[in-house]
């Protein structure tokens, strides 16, 4: 299966305790909040692209 997602930005977002809680990403031109859930197809694709070296997730601000 090919997902062919175009992910242009990805940045962790932290909760009030400073723990990463999700990733704010631009996917196919849309700003989305992606949960850190391996069963989520967007998160799985982000991890795949990070592993392939084509995407970097920025640290939370």
């Amino acid at each position: 299966m090919e997902n062919n997602m175009d992910i242009t930005t990805a940045q962790y977002q932290a909760d009030m305790d400073g723990n990463n809680s999700c990733i704010k990403a631009t996917i196919d031109g849309q700003e989305l909040s992606v949960p850190l859930d391996p069963a989520n197809r967007h998160y799985a694709e982000i991890l795949k692209q990070v592993e392939a070296g084509t995407l970097t997730i920025a640290d939370a601000e």
């Binding site: 999700c22 700003e31 989305l32 992606v34 949960p35 859930d37």
Partner: protein, 358 residues
Amino acid sequence: MTKARQLADLGNAYDDGALSNRNMIINGAMQVAQRGTSVSSISSGYNTIDRWAMSFDGDNDNLVLNMEQSSDAPDGFNNSLKLTVATPETAVATDEQASIQYRIEAQDLQGLAFGTSTAKSLTVSFWVKSSVTGTFALNAHNIDANRIITETFSIDASNTWEYKAITIVGDASGSFNNDNGIGLQLTFFLMAGPDREGTSADTWRSYLKDALATGINNNLCTTSGATFQITGVQLEVGDTATPFEHRSYGDELAKCQRYYYRLPPNTETVFASLFNARHVCRVPFPTTMRANPTASTPTWNTGRYGGGSFLSGATLTINTTFPTTDGYGWDVSSSTSPLQDQSGAMALTTATTFDAEL
């Protein structure tokens, strides 16, 4: 069909354990389209009709397809998924393909007993109509075991609704995980390059790209203005196609919302003030979603918050989100500081979507 034949088919369905809830396909009648009813120049993924995805590989030089939820359907149905070739492919080369896909959760396939000697057959039936005659390929892919089987069906007459039924034998060699990931993926190939149609695979075998669309032979995607429509898709246990199991719109919508949920504009959402200018907003889901969903970025009408005086005109910033399968929360800061512990409601200005699709 005679009454005796119908009774025999019913008996077969009983033996296969599928007298009710026979259809394993959600939204097989293409009734639900939460994302919208028409999209031009579609891409891989989910475009319009719930649960039905498109897949494209390779460059597909210049192929452009439009997708819509059409009201043209065979008797007994009100909708179909319709694809129109807006710009045709010039030549179907290696690595290129266009297909419609449907994905089923692995935990919903346990009754098939795949991977055992009692693995059950499946029958997929559907109505199809195309302006182009020819042979199309359909494969079933056990994602967990990475095994496939490929069958074909033909469009015999152009622009005519035709009913098709294809039986897929059970697979004694590959089981499905008992989880919420993809178990089985059905792929209706509209177009496939020569690297996907070389090896015969009408029995289950280990995944082989060369066998994905064996037997496909049509000019749909190379014909400008060509159309392809499908509806009434049913996947059931057994080697007999029974009549389509119609479900109410409400039932289908609820099933679809396990995978995708759309909150429309003007939905009132409740905010609770935490401290200073920090708030939490949370919305419950009507159905437990398959996984923690991806959410679009909401915007709110601050002019109506708390009766109009609390955060009127404030600029809101989402600090982080709290996704769960049962609801979604946002941690939101405002440019003004209301009283601590004050709560209010605020309407969404645009639709907000939650995506837990396979």
